[in-house]
């Protein structure tokens, strides 16, 4: 009986996994190319973020991607979590301006020319507790105008908002190619086989030595792509290390608990089982 149970459970689990696997793979089944697989520092049971890669990745984000993309869920104070000191984080914040959440009243006139008051949210220098401000308070229309009608998405969650997120973003960044002959490209679009539809409104953003890494790492396009993806994964999942750490503790505790329960259960049943034989 026990064998039957284990066998059925195993086969049920496999078929379940197969169905899930299939259903996951199908979402990627649109025409675009399957992303390249990268062995990330943060993947697997023991994954942690490579600190140096995080800081280099932030540099790439700030010097390259930030021209078009925001990371609105990240506050400047969060930078201390990836190895910047509080002073460094503060210095980074002070390069930005943000709209203060505190307003003041200003005298103005209403439509009829009568005196009235208006709420004004002043633009101030950003501080540690502020989030990375939206792209210089541009309107969506302005942003679209500057990007051939497309909207560069906020990147704070991008590695979780795409299937195979980190692999996908890496593949996208390093996957620019010349369009195959015969393919008609929409003006202003670039060919990228990893993107759905293969035509993307983002021109290849990374080329060699675009940034100068403080730690002397050679800034190849591939290196920069890996670094910025590590940074973006952290931006999307800042609690990953804490989660993994708590994970082993819970798994080990539960494993011990379960083994104890297994034996205590056998013990409890011993007399009943004996009678049966």
């Amino acid at each position: 009986m026990k064998k039957f149970f284990m066998k059925t459970l195993a086969s049920a689990a496999t078929s379940f996994a197969v169905v899930l696997g299939l259903s996951v793979s199908v979402f990627a089944a649109d025409a675009e190319k399957a992303p390249k697989e990268v062995n990330w520092s943060f993947s697997g049971f023991f994954g942690t973020y490579d600190r140096a890669a995080l800081q280099r990745g932030f540099q790439v984000y700030e010097e390259v991607c930030a021209a078009c993309h925001g990371i609105r869920y990240i506050a400047f104070r969060n930078l201390t979590e990836i190895g910047f000191s509080e002073e460094e984080a503060k210095a980074i914040a002070e390069k930005y301006e943000t709209v203060s959440p505190q307003y003041y009243w200003e005298d103005t006139e209403d439509f009829d020319g009568n005196p009235a008051k208006a709420k004004v949210y002043p633009v101030v220098t950003a501080g540690l507790s502020d989030k990375f401000p939206a792209k210089q308070f541009e309107t969506e229309a302005q942003i679209r105008d500057g990007n051939g009608g497309a909207l560069p998405p906020d990147l704070s969650l991008i590695t979780k908002a795409r299937h195979h997120g980190p692999d996908y973003v890496y593949s996208l960044l390093t996957g620019y190619e010349d369009a195959p002959s015969g393919m008609e490209m929409v003006p202003g679009m670039s060919y990228n086989p990893y993107f759905g539809g293969s035509q993307i409104a983002m021109a290849n953003p990374l080329f060699e030595d675009q940034v100068e890494y403080a730690d002397g790492t050679k800034a190849t396009a591939d290196q920069m792509a890996k670094d910025v993806v590590t940074f973006l994964m952290w931006a999307a999942e800042p609690k990953l290390e804490e989660r993994h750490q708590m994970g082993y503790k819970v798994m080990i505790f539960m494993l011990v608990f379960t083994i104890l329960m297994y034996f205590s259960n056998r013990r409890v049943w011993a007399d009943v089982k004996k009678k049966k034989d």
């Binding site: 649109d30 704070s156 908002a161 708590m246 379960t258 205590s264």
Partner: protein, 421 residues
């Protein structure tokens, strides 16, 4: 229950309370040594207690999530990110709650198939079974509305697709949908009412669970042999025998659960739900959570209308038929105790039924697979065949075909003496 307890204590406080409100004998009679359970229950009987645990986990994590969540279309998505980033252990709460829904469904589906295999729905447990189906339906409603709360792309478009189903109802369909939405589109009023109901329904489930257990305790558990308990030799006290066994099951369950929460928390979810809802941008494919896939397949399988032959008069259009089929797939479960004519409960003694049981399991997996695919190529046909077979199983095989061919088998004498005479 309390009636079958011979609870006694030397503790004065306990006796004082017991005299005025017999709660200790109630517990003892429901989960204690005084509740007799068949001694041959196998591991498939662990899933009932696991379902109870899953419900408790959802309620506890849900209540704490509500302390930080904001049910407003402008703020919901950000408030979930706030939970994930700024609330102490907020990521844990949310990942437990989101994966907990999946774990709850896995457990309940296994629990249901256990019932199908061992004939637990048969007399005198029909009402117990029906209460179970009611719990499943309430869970589906709860999970659907919960999934809308983070207000991501899949939340929004899932809500839109599912609420739109009600427009298939003849005559009042469109008004019904507007009434559900609280407006002319899925919008803030929809989110707020879903939030309210998502909070309410789990407590309704808890109420039905109490009825479910009450009904269970009237006749006690069924067992792998499917025969009635004949004498005290056939049973053991629930405590310590099944409390010990359930604790082991809980350990295994939490290990599986913890794997997903800590090491693969987004595996069972859909990436698009990390994109804030955008009513102007339809996602490439709208796919429900895995636990709805078989039902989604049944819904989409029907692409033809029923009309009066040789006329243009449509009696039931395809959309309505799909909706009816989907709800019908649950309705047949309610009718099952009367559709299955065999007095024999356990599949062990129904070799023919056993085959059809496993075919039904495979059919459910096929439907689940089809539900995840775009309705292209052979998928619609496969879905239709799967759906047809599902109903064939319950509406034709069980009531009409099986009784003709199934031979009477001899049942064992008793649980403590499981020999076939």
């Amino acid at each position: 229950m309390a009636g079958n307890s011979n609870f006694q204590s030397n503790n004065k406080v306990v006796n004082w309370i017991e005299e005025r409100m017999p709660i200790f004998s109630l517990i003892d009679g429901s989960l204690g040594a005084s509740y007799p359970a068949p001694k041959n229950l196998n591991y498939w009987w662990n899933f009932g207690s696991l379902a109870g645990l899953a419900l408790v986990i959802q309620i506890v994590t849900g209540i704490v999530l509500v302390m930080h969540y904001t049910p407003n279309t402008e703020l919901a998505f950000d408030s979930v990110e706030h939970i994930m980033r700024d609330v102490n252990y907020g990521w844990l709460l949310r990942y437990v709650h989101a994966n907990g829904a999946s774990m709850f469904f896995i457990v309940v589906y296994i629990h249901i198939f256990r019932g199908l295999y061992f004939g637990s729905y048969k007399a005198p447990r029909e009402l117990l079974w029906i209460l179970g189906v009611v719990i499943l339906i309430l869970m589906m409603a709860t999970a659907f509305m919960g999934y809308v709360l983070p207000w991501g792309q899949m939340s929004f478009w899932g809500a839109k697709v599912i609420t739109n189903l009600f427009s298939a109802v003849p005559v009042v369909g469109d008004s019904l949908v507007q009434w559900l939405w609280g407006g002319f589109a899925v919008d803030n009023p929809t989110l707020q009412r879903f939030f309210s109901l998502h909070y309410l329904l789990p407590f309704v489930i808890a109420g039905v669970v109490i009825l479910h257990i009450w009904a269970l305790h009237k006749h006690g558990s069924n067992n792998p042999l499917g025969i009635d308990v004949k004498s005290p030799q056939d049973t053991v006290g629930f405590h310590p025998y099944y409390t010990a066994k359930d604790l082991f099951g809980i350990g295994v369950f939490i290990l599986v659960f913890a794997y997903f929460v800590f090491f693969n928390p987004n595996y069972l979810g859909h990436a698009d739900n990390y994109i804030p809802a955008n009513p102007l941008l339809t996602p490439a494919s709208i796919v429900p959570e895995w636990y709805f896939l078989p039902f989604y397949a049944i819904l989409r399988s029907i692409t033809f209308s029923i009309s009066i032959p040789f006329t243009d008069i449509v009696l039931i259009d395809a959309k309505l038929l799909g909706v009816l089929a989907m709800f019908g797939s649950l309705a047949v479960l309610i009718a099952l105790p009367w559709l299955d004519r065999s007095p024999v409960r356990s599949s062990r003694f129904r070799p023919m039924y056993r085959w059809f049981f496993w075919i039904l399991v495979i059919d459910s997996f096929i439907l689940g697979y089809v539900g995840a695919q775009k309705p292209e190529g052979i998928m619609p046909t496969l879905g239709l065949i799967g759906t047809a077979y599902y109903f064939f199983h319950f509406l034709v095989l069980l009531p009409f075909i099986m009784p003709k061919y199934e031979k009477d088998t001899k049942l064992p004498e008793s649980i403590s003496n499981p020999v076939i005479k």
